[in-house]
Symmetry: C2
Subunit: 273 residues, 2 copies
């Protein structure tokens, strides 16, 4: 059973709400921590955002999103790297211990997974230098293989662990149930990350059966087919004691009252995580 003190909500979960409302609602609902997207911070401006967060009393457990290098094409490499440095600067300002990084989908014009991985690996390495210089970690999140085309060629925890091993200090992995629940190597790769000291984040959600859309039909914990407690046990047994982040891309709940949704998240969190 998960304790509510471990709950962190990613702001994309409550996408319809503007930043100020979101922060106030989390605070009012007793959500102890959250994970904003840099676009949310930008929507109000950095200094206003910092004040709102400080006033709310919420902890910032992480920030989204670095990466998506290949999506912009090789010709925009310096721009996308500059953008990533800026995201890390914002994270440092709002006190996010790390930023989630998703390297990017198939490099335009190539159809080559290998070229995509090589290109993105170099970009991650360069971004990591800046991350280390501003004291913010990078959490490399392997995505479900369904997102290889448009979001990430790093689609197993094994590949993410391999990258972290090569990249060295300052980068670890984020384990999001939705992305890795299918993976036969999950237990051994969680152990591997734990032994390397790179198990940075744990995210919960559920997989709906049927799923109507590849991106925006993620399930509230308990509504799907994932044995969530067994994976929570894996990360806990591996020594993870950080927050459990709820990040749901859900066109079903985005049209509902977000206060009701947050109540439901809290209820499911203690019952199904």
């Amino acid at each position: 059973v998960a304790d509510l003190s471990k709950l962190s909500i990613n702001t994309l979960t409550n996408k319809p709400l503007p930043f100020e409302e979101l922060v106030n609602l989390y605070a009012r609902k007793g959500v102890p921590a959250f994970s904003p997207w840099h676009t949310e911070i930008d929507s109000v401006g950095l200094s206003v955002a910092k004040k709102m967060i400080a006033d709310s009393g919420l902890s910032v457990t992480s920030m989204c999103l670095c990466g998506l290098f290949s999506n912009e094409g090789r010709e925009n490499r310096s721009d996308v790297l500059a953008h990533n440095r800026r995201v890390l600067d914002i994270a440092a300002e709002v006190g996010a211990p790390y930023v989630t990084i998703v390297p990017g989908g198939i490099l335009p014009g190539t159809k080559s997974i290998q070229d995509t991985l090589d290109y993105n690996f170099d970009c991650v390495a360069e971004t990591l230098e800046h991350a280390n210089s501003v004291g913010v970690g990078l959490a490399l999140e392997p995505l479900h293989p369904i997102y290889l085309a448009d979001w990430s060629g790093v689609n197993t925890l094994k590949t993410a662990n391999d990258w972290c091993e090569k990249l060295g200090d300052g980068i670890g992995v984020a384990v999001d149930i939705y992305h890795v629940w299918w993976d036969p190597n999950l237990p051994e790769e969680i152990t591997r990350a734990s032994q390397a000291g790179t198990l940075l984040a744990y995210c919960v959600g559920d997989f709906l059966d049927p799923t109507s859309h590849p991106l925006n039909d993620r399930g509230l914990m308990g509504d799907g087919v994932i044995d969530i407690p067994s994976i929570t046990k894996l990360v806990e047994d591996a020594g993870y004691d950080g927050p459990y982040e709820v990040e749901l891309f859900t066109s079903t709940w985005w049209v509902e009252d977000q206060g009701v949704f947050i109540d439901e998240i809290k209820d499911r969190f203690v019952r199904f995580v």
Copy 2:
């Protein structure tokens, strides 16, 4: 470049057409071979179907579908096994050298991937006995991890190869590009199947970016992001010289004229496979 003599079309690709029209259209369009679903055979009756196939001059390269054991629940085990034996009997009658087998999704009421795999492995083993007795092979097709909930817990070629190794004679693997293109272990597992003499089938298609639906938005070869020739080279280098089957679940093309669609398939087959 693929030769049209290697083309086989799975009847689900042209879902809107009734069986007789389908067979006639394939023959008229110079499609040399096809792969029917048992439901298509049932729709006209076995003896009529056999006559239609013989008259058309088409080869039957495989048949669909065995498996989906767990989907029916443990309580219907004997029924689903009997159904599978019947599918194999039909395959033997129409001269299909093998039937594609997809074990099934998460066992209802369990949320356990391991229980699902164990249950389905036993059912496959039992089905294999009947397959061997009627002289029809089983082609175990690993499905994309997105189908774990509802279609198959065998979601990597490695798992499929492991199963074949344990199950022995009469079962091999089907490599469908759509399901395995993302897999970092693909080259080594194709080689492994080849060395074991169990590389039974090769299926082509493409992955669209973006993909609007997890099941019914597969792409015509050349419309997506998969480097198809590189995978064709892998299976050819592994000694595969059987047909290349086109199986597209596509709500986009299902509403179009199927003759036009078949022309397009032939064109794409020689240009992009």
